[in-house]
Assembly symmetry: C2
């Protein structure tokens, strides 16, 4: 353990070192960096962090992080509410939004089922998804499962599928394959295998 | 640029991304991590950062970061005030303290002379060091220069040497068991400790 010359310095370093991927030495470097900045800027940084938990809202419909009770995507009349893309977290929403290829709405699970980490269906927003899909007058016609291709992702996919397979909703998953522009020789076997099994009519790709 | 679903989220990510070595994606990961923590813990983190610049004091004698006007090292009656180790920053103080091989006091320059970065002697605490050494009744008998072995470190060493060579103070540098070019904070305790024990007269190093 380091000997810190000031309790406050030590406290600050320990706080930073709680962040994932940041050890004591990096934490110290960050704190010393802050000490060299303008007082106003550092105060502003602290105040933004203080406001984080208090002021951030999760959208009541899709559970994405939002400034309002209903997020910008869910409240946008031009988005297609009949298609719901189910993702693990808000980063996935951002990634998909960045493609500018998707015009439906989202459902953020807030994680995936992972018995090893003690995360069960009850810790996620799966029930909210079910209620949304099964509620009378629901306009949802398709759920796109876009969870990670891990055992946990597969488990979650299957759990959601089992709960909703008797509804009239079509359940799809995003296509997995070799990345656009990648050489085949650099793709891993599972991805390449899936690309072959899930091959498409060439003609259908011409229409994009 | 990412599309953030919340202004506050975006603000928080941008604040983290200002830290050295942290890009937008890492910043987002850190903010999402904070959002999963207890509100009280996140608030505490923010409040520690807010207090940083306001409450941290630099020791009047050695310029180390401190909780009091005079730091714990300078006010410790068992430390040898006749020996002053001159270091670039407070991380170096911590590194040397961790060796448990040094019983003198410190002088933290707050940087080193670096014309490329626009840092001159006036930006550092060199004048305070001179005054301390030259003041009547000064008990200082030895200055140990423990600056980095870079051109900037050498320049700073030489500058201090020239200002004080006519005083009665012995000027030494730490022995470089530490690899040339390595920062003190990354040296292991044994090597760094040995470097302090085997310090040499600065003048003798000029002859190489």
């Amino acid at each position: 353990m380091m000997n810190y010359s000031s309790k406050l310095l030590e406290e600050a370093v320990l706080e930073f070192a709680k962040l994932p991927g940041i050890g004591n030495k990096t934490a110290l470097r960050l704190v010393l960096h802050l000490l060299k900045q303008e007082a106003r800027d550092v105060e502003n940084f602290g105040s933004v962090i203080q406001r984080l938990k208090k002021e951030i809202i999760h959208c009541k419909i899709c559970h994405n992080i939002s400034d309002q009770e209903i997020c910008q995507i869910c409240s946008n009349p031009r988005r297609d509410r009949s298609t719901v893309c189910v993702v693990e977290n808000i980063r996935d929403v951002m990634s998909i939004e960045n493609t500018h290829q998707y015009n439906g709405v989202y459902h953020v699970l807030g994680g995936i089922i992972s018995p090893m980490d003690g995360i069960g269906p009850g810790d996620l927003t799966i029930q909210s998804l079910e209620e949304k899909v099964l509620s009378s007058g629901s306009e949802i016609r398709e759920l796109i499962l876009a969870l990670p291709t891990t055992m946990e992702g597969d488990t979650t996919n299957f759990y959601i599928f089992r709960r909703l397979k008797n509804s009239n909703v079509r359940i799809t998953t995003i296509a997995r394959g070799v990345s656009v522009g990648d050489d085949l020789e650099f793709a891993d076997e599972i991805t390449l295998g899936r690309s072959i099994v899930n091959r498409m009519d060439f003609e259908s790709t011409l229409k994009n």
